[in-house]
């Protein structure tokens, strides 16, 4: 199953975000909680709703078109994000098999940090594709 591993990554990412909010910004971890809530709601929606049918229905109606496209892009980018988390998680597990030593924590921190540039690169290519499809101008 791909999902639990990807969720482990989201939870780790949320925990890092929460730590930053608590320790650096000195406030309750609203952003981290909101991110986890949106991820959970998105997953539930993805599992329960006939998305392809809904998207096709919405795309055929000009008032709903932009909103549907927005959610489709969001869903696509979320999938990219989950894929990157999953591949990093696998790479990290292979690189740091022994738990609870210094390199284990350091490699986890490096893997989490490298998620940002990797996701940004994918986002850049996704944006380029949108431009070529006549969108995002």
């Amino acid at each position: 199953m791909r999902l639990p591993a990807a969720w482990a990554g989201i939870v780790v990412f949320g925990a890092v975000l929460a730590a930053v909010e608590i320790l650096v910004l000195r406030r309750a971890p609203f952003i981290a909680l909101r991110m986890l809530a949106v991820a959970a709601a998105g997953l539930l929606l993805f599992r329960l709703a006939p998305l392809a049918r809904l998207a096709e229905w919405g795309l055929a109606r000009p008032p709903a078109r932009k909103t549907v496209l927005y959610f489709l892009f969001l869903a696509h980018f979320s999938r990219i994000f989950l894929e990157e988390i999953l591949s990093l998680y696998h790479a990290w597990k292979l690189a740091a098999p022994n738990r609870w030593n210094r390199s284990w924590g350091r490699s986890l921190a490096c893997a989490t940090a490298s998620l940002f540039p990797r996701t940004l690169r994918r986002a850049e290519r996704f944006y380029a594709a949108l431009l070529l499809k006549g969108m995002a101008q």
Binding site: L72, R125, F126, A129, L132, M135
Partner: protein, 221 residues
């Protein structure tokens, strides 16, 4: 401009690192040209400049008509709930009525041998099918110039053959960037070799690919 593509003294840099230096070439209408070079030679950057996604630091890029492009990772280009909607999307964005866009998208998918997969999302398809779907989406726009970045990367031999046959049926000008020399020999008449951002060789594909020294010197063998 008579040809399909003209590039003159193209320069591009990522910060202080020069990626393209004085690159010049032209592609005639309907011509199929290969672009080879080692990793980091600047092939993808050149394609992105041709697509208009990167602005060159100097030089000129002219493309006659509309370009179409297929990225190395087709998943970055296919993001709708079905590949049919993926192919329809740019057509609708260009103002085509929905019914006509659907008809053209279905024809493009049929030409790529994907009519049965039209209603499936890209992530459920094999990589070969995804590449052909991305190609169908580019071709549905009836581009005058088609730009392909590593179209055979991670494809099995059968998928390569199918892609090669599909490309050879096209009438538009093509620039195909690849490390796969056999594929380039089967799909292009002329080859450009790029190394360290410079165009180091250009000529008939068969001639350049039979020059062992040239290929070894530029990391292609």
């Amino acid at each position: 401009m008579n040809g399909a593509v003209r590039v003159e003294n193209l320069e591009f840099a990522y910060g202080p690192r020069k990626v393209l230096q004085g690159v010049s070439f032209a592609i005639s209408q309907g011509e199929s040209v290969g672009l080879a070079g080692p990793n980091g030679a600047g092939k993808s950057t050149l394609l992105w400049c041709l697509m208009g996604l990167l602005k060159p630091a100097a030089g000129r890029v002219e493309i006659r008509g509309r370009p179409g492009a297929v990225f190395q990772n087709p998943e970055d280009q296919l993001f709708m709930p079905s590949i049919l909607l993926d192919v329809m999307l740019p057509l609708e964005n260009r103002g085509l009525p929905r019914a006509e866009a659907r008809e053209r998208a279905l024809a493009a998918l049929a030409a790529a041998g994907l009519e049965k997969a039209a209603e499936r999302p890209a992530h459920e398809l094999s990589l070969g099918e995804q590449k052909r779907a991305a190609l169908a989406a580019a071709l549905a726009l009836q581009p005058d110039v088609l730009l392909l970045d590593e179209p055979t990367s991670e494809l099995d031999p059968r998928s390569c053959r199918m892609l090669s046959a599909h490309l050879n049926r096209l009438a538009c000008a093509r620039l195909i960037s690849s490390h796969h020399l056999e594929f380039l020999a089967g799909t292009t008449a002329r080859l450009l070799i790029l190394d360290e951002g410079r165009l180091v060789a250009a000529g008939p594909t068969r001639d350049l690919l039979s020059d062992e020294d040239l290929l070894l010197r530029h990391g292609l063998k």
